[in-house]
């Protein structure tokens, strides 16, 4: 079950999966997919992690797209663990992405991991403004009415830690959507400095649960 809230007078839905849905625009937004992470680590001589995270992340995205039938999908940066990982995607993953993209608008916002266009179709932008909301990868403290990702916020309740959205009157920060992603505690100074008093954390999981930050 999603959690509905308003930002800049727009009604938005935080989905339990960590995706954001904007009904008025039929827009689905996901952040920090980090596709190809295991491949990048292996390439750099690091650990050989189970090479299944791309299909796991894509099947999660597939399910959200299937449920919301969006007209527009925005990937909010760090969609790929690096540009080489985007090029190195297996054919099955490429085909899968192509199928998801078919028949809808698709925007890749540039992240710090994947700066630059990738050879996968869709529109590539540094940021996107729609109506009164701006989508960018990293929150800009000077700006308002913005939706961003990057920090992978998570919060702890009853001893278990979960990825979460962070919401205050000015901004929304999305959790990381990718399978192989860690998190930054919501009480970390970097996030505290960005979020105002009275901010909420919206936990992902079985259902989207708001708690005071």
């Amino acid at each position: 079950m999603h959690h509905a809230f308003t930002l800049a007078d727009e009604t938005l839905h935080a989905l339990p999966s960590g995706a954001l849905y904007w009904p008025a625009q039929r827009l689905l937004c996901v952040s920090d997919l980090h596709l190809g992470k295991s491949e990048r680590l292996a390439r750099r001589g690091g650990a050989l992690l189970p090479p299944y995270e791309t299909r796991e992340t894509l099947s999660k995205l597939d399910a959200d797209i299937d449920r919301t039938q969006p007209a527009h999908v925005v990937c909010l940066g760090d969609s790929f663990d690096d540009l080489a990982a985007a090029e190195g995607l297996e054919d099955t993953a490429r085909l899968w992405l192509a199928r998801l993209m078919a028949g809808r608008e698709w925007t890749w916002i540039e992240g710090n991991h994947d700066a630059g266009p990738v050879d996968l179709g869709g529109t590539h932008l540094a940021r996107l403004t729609l109506g009164s909301l701006t989508f960018r990868h990293i929150a800009d403290p000077a700006e308002s009415d913005e939706i961003s990702g990057h920090y992978h916020p998570k919060t702890r309740i009853k001893g278990s830690s979960r990825p979460c959205f962070l919401l205050d009157a000015h901004r929304l920060i999305l959790p990381a959507y990718g399978t192989y992603t860690g998190g930054l505690r919501s009480e970390d100074a970097a996030l505290r400095a960005l979020m105002q008093k009275g901010a909420l954390a919206i936990l992902t999981g079985h259902r989207a649960l708001p708690v005071p930050l």
Binding site: A42, A47, P50, P51, E56, K158, T179, G182, L209
Partner: protein, 835 residues
């Protein structure tokens, strides 16, 4: 082959010496030392020993006599000069004109022990003026010192398994070890109990390839199966030397005026009696089974210690500075007692300990015997020990343990085959040192005791895991970690060697946070608590650490900052450390005690309790499974007397409640102890047999229990050891958290996409033992062979009653976890006025 050697009994001790090197206890000169073939000690050393009034024990002579044999296991009690026995052949061979190069490697499980042995070995070496260089090398050794040791090794190097692993991962390992003649492994019995032992045996095989004439010596405390330990040390051939075990210990149950409570641990009811014992002895070690109990006990002890007897506390979660302060005070004879845990099971002699008190049932006879041995201030005088049952059930267990000590029966589960995660690490270590040939490495590995039965396909699967990750999806053929080039395996990227070295070792720390007193200068370190416990704290909470109550102030750069605040009712830090399950031997003895007609050996309160149980229900017996069903307080209860040890009884509870849920019996919760599991729910169980169907239980283990936190923790440990994930270093956790993610994600991903992966196989194997301990459920069901007695009773039975008082009740919930979180979230929103 066995050789049982006795040394002459000592009518009177010679001059006591101080310091007392190498636990060597003074004995009177033997008039005519028997002629022994083998080695002789250099004259200056013999002279120095004579000047000190020392004579070698029989087992020390025997070690010299057998110095040329390829492998020897020496079993000797604490205080028998075991370590000196291990070094004598080295001193004999090196003599007065030692050739340059490394001659002997000494390996101990404890860093502190290597430093201590270095000091004590230097005393005779320098005393006799022998030009022998003795150095230690551990994680604490400086970088320059370590560099120098590699370039110019000492004659005798004292180290730990982990430091040896690191040395062997360097390309110059062949040069360092080319002259090596002997390896001496101290406390082998302790190392053999964990994966550190498996790793060490692989390292010995490696060393043997580098120096083919290598001889190995294992030193061990008393163990239940010496031939098995000998096969572990050297599967080809190994001498076993047993030193005179000395007189039987003087051990008894500590009787108190008040009977022990019905449940709980810690033995705080007997504080007065314990203080009284401390007063009547010079130095007492008070052993506890858990750190949390040691903390609570120590806190209470000080509240009742009216005379202000100097008493310290020592356990593995205290800061090194704190522990060292206690150790120093102990060696100087300034303490009358130390409240401690397994952290003092091993290690140097702590001054003149004349009494050991074991608080709580010992769970394991072998460990009890080894602990008793710590009260050894006089070799050949009986060690004195008291055991204190913490509750009524433990009275029976303590009785069983005393009987076992008297009968010289020791427990111990047979070792499983060498774990494959350790082998994976060894393959990576070998690759870090240089290219290797798979055939040769397989041969080397199977010469190590724990891996003697390893098949070639098993080895190849481990090699494949190291090279490609071993996934069903061949994703990394381009980015292999190891590549085969002209018949030799090597690292694709040489920089990988540094990562491998950083992750060597098989000790997996739980994620802990340091605790410091908050002040301007950074504060005194007090110890550490587990991250999970720290996350439950809010500023103002108080908790116990190192026997003092502190107030949680906040978290700063991954350090828990506290201030002193005496007197409040504190929380107790939880430590996920080892909670030992009662051994099979002890549970068998307990069940045998239950079968007695009467119990003259037990205190009256306990004998009456058992008699009453026999009247209203039955007592559990070895070849049947007693299951009681009764209503209480509006709930139905089921009590299963499985006697399979804490871990297995908990696993059994998880599996049985799952079956009950499927049957619509609405279980609500359970509590498990070493002896029994109590389950409560809405409906009574009328047919017990389906609950204990082995196939169904095993199915539950394979399917839904596989998602259990215990399994995830088991996986994490294996994944770190095998090199799938890197250890989380303190520094990295501070900075790059977004990059690191929980190993649970990897576990879930593998279960979903690659269920037969090597590391899942290893995780399942581990689940058979250790925390899940499914093997003991199987043993229990085999023992009762379907003879299950379900008895319906009108009310709680005497034996079941204490279970109601047990802490750690575990709720059963299908979707309950989510409900709990939702409820908590709703409350928080309400409190914040946001609902």
């Amino acid at each position: 082959m066995h050789a049982r050697l006795h040394c002459a009994s000592a009518p009177a001790a010679a001059q006591p010496l101080s310091p007392n090197p190498l636990k060597q206890k003074p004995l009177p000169p033997t008039p005519n030392p028997p002629y022994l073939p083998g080695m002789t000690l250099p004259q200056p050393l013999t002279d120095w020993f004579s000047a000190k009034g020392w004579t070698l024990h029989a087992h020390q002579q025997a070690m010299l006599a057998r110095a040329k044999d390829p492998a020897t296991l020496l079993i000797a009690p604490t205080g028998g000069g075991k370590t000196l026995a291990g070094f004598l052949p080295t001193l004999a061979e090196l003599g007065t004109t030692p050739p340059p190069g490394l001659h002997t490697l000494y390996i101990s499980p404890l860093k502190a022990l290597t430093a201590d042995i270095r000091r004590n070995l230097r005393t005779p070496v320098e005393g006799a003026g022998l030009p022998i260089r003795v150095e230690d090398r551990t994680g604490d050794t400086t970088y320059t010192q370590r560099r120098r040791q590699r370039a110019d090794p000492p004659h005798i190097l004292l180290t730990t398994p982990e430091s040896l692993a690191l040395l062997l991962s360097y390309e110059d390992a062949p040069r360092i070890f080319q002259s090596l003649q002997r390896v001496v492994i101290d406390e082998l019995h302790a190392l053999a109990e964990s994966k550190r032992g498996d790793q060490l045996m692989l390292l010995l095989s490696r060393l043997e390839s580098l120096s083919p004439n290598l001889r190995r010596v294992g030193l061990s405390a008393t163990v239940e199966d010496p031939p098995a330990l000998a096969r572990f040390l050297a599967p080809q051939a190994c001498n076993i030397l047993q030193a005179d075990p000395g007189p039987d210990p003087d051990i008894a149950m500590l009787e108190t005026d008040d009977p022990p409570p019905w449940s709980g641990g810690g033995g705080r009811y007997a504080m007065r009696a314990i203080l009284d014992q401390v007063r009547r002895h010079r130095t007492t070690l008070i052993f506890h089974n858990t750190r949390a109990q040691a903390e609570l006990f120590f806190h209470d002890l000080w509240l009742q210690n009216d005379e202000g007897l100097p008493i310290g506390i020592h356990h593995g979660s205290l800061a090194r500075e704190q522990r060292e302060r206690v150790e120093t005070a102990m060696v100087e004879g300034k303490l009358r007692a130390i409240v401690c845990t397994g952290s003092l099971d091993l290690g140097i002699d702590w001054g003149d300990v004349d009494l050991v008190i074991q608080v709580g049932a010992p769970k394991n006879v072998k460990r009890l015997v080894q602990r008793i041995g710590r009260a050894n201030h006089r070799y050949n005088a009986p060690s004195k020990a008291l055991i204190l049952p913490a509750n009524r059930f433990e009275v029976v267990e303590c009785r069983a343990a005393l009987d076992a000590v008297r009968d010289h029966t020791l427990d111990g589960e047979p070792r499983g085959p060498g774990p494959r995660d350790v082998l994976c690490q060894h393959i990576l270590l070998t690759a870090a040192a240089g290219p290797f040939c798979a055939d040769a490495l397989y041969g080397e590995v199977t010469r190590a005791g724990p891996y003697a039965a390893l098949t070639r396909p098993e080895f190849d699967a481990c090699l494949d895991f190291c090279a490609t990750g071993g996934y069903a999806l061949r994703a990394y053929d381009k980015w292999q970690r190891l590549q085969e080039k002209s018949g030799k395996w090597q690292l694709r990227d040489p920089r990988t060697a540094a990562i491998i070295r950083q992750n060597l070792g098989t000790i997996i720390d739980t994620e802990t946070l340091k605790v410091r007193l908050r002040n301007r200068l950074g504060g005194t370190p007090l110890g550490e608590v587990e991250e999970g416990f720290a996350s439950t704290l809010t500023p103002g909470d108080t908790f116990l650490i190192g026997g003092q109550v502190v107030r949680y102030e906040g978290l700063k750069e991954m350090t828990v900052e506290v201030s002193r605040q005496p007197g409040r009712d504190p929380k107790v830090a939880t430590f996920n450390g080892t909670k030992f399950a009662t051994s099979t031997l002890l549970t068998e003895r307990i069940l045998a005690i239950f079968q007695q007609e009467s119990w003259p050996d037990l205190p009256t309160h306990t004998a009456r309790w058992l008699a009453l149980q026999r009247d209203v229900s039955r007592l559990p017996s070895p070849d049947r499974l007693l299951v009681e069903s009764f209503p209480h307080d509006g709930r139905e209860h089921l009590c299963i007397y499985g006697f399979a040890g804490r871990n297995a009884m908990q696993t059994l509870a998880l599996l049985v409640t799952k079956v009950m849920e499927e049957q619509g019996l609405a279980p609500l919760g359970f509590v498990a102890t070493d002896y029994a599991t109590l389950i409560w729910g809405l409906d009574p169980v009328t047919d017990a047999a389906p609950l204990f169907d082995l196939a169904r239980l095993r199915d539950g283990l394979e399917t839904w229990l596989a998602g259990n936190a215990v399994m995830k923790r088991t996986f994490r440990a294996s994944a770190i050891i095998a090199g799938l994930i890197e250890r989380s270093h303190q520094g990295r956790r501070k900075s790059g958290r977004q990059a690191t993610f929980s190993s649970d994600i990897l576990y879930d991903t593998l279960r979903k996409y690659d269920p037969d992966h090597l590391l899942l196989q290893v995780t399942r194997e581990e689940a058979e033992r250790g925390l899940v301990d499914f093997a003991r459920i199987e043993d229990m069901l085999a023992r009762v062979a379907g003879r299950i007695d379900l008895i319906r009773l009108p009310r709680v039975t005497p034996l079941a009653a204490p279970l109601f008082l047990e802490p750690n009740k575990i709720p059963v919930h299908g979707t309950g976890r989510d409900r709990m979180v939702e409820e908590a979230a709703r409350k928080l929103m309400e409190e914040a006025g946001l609902a």
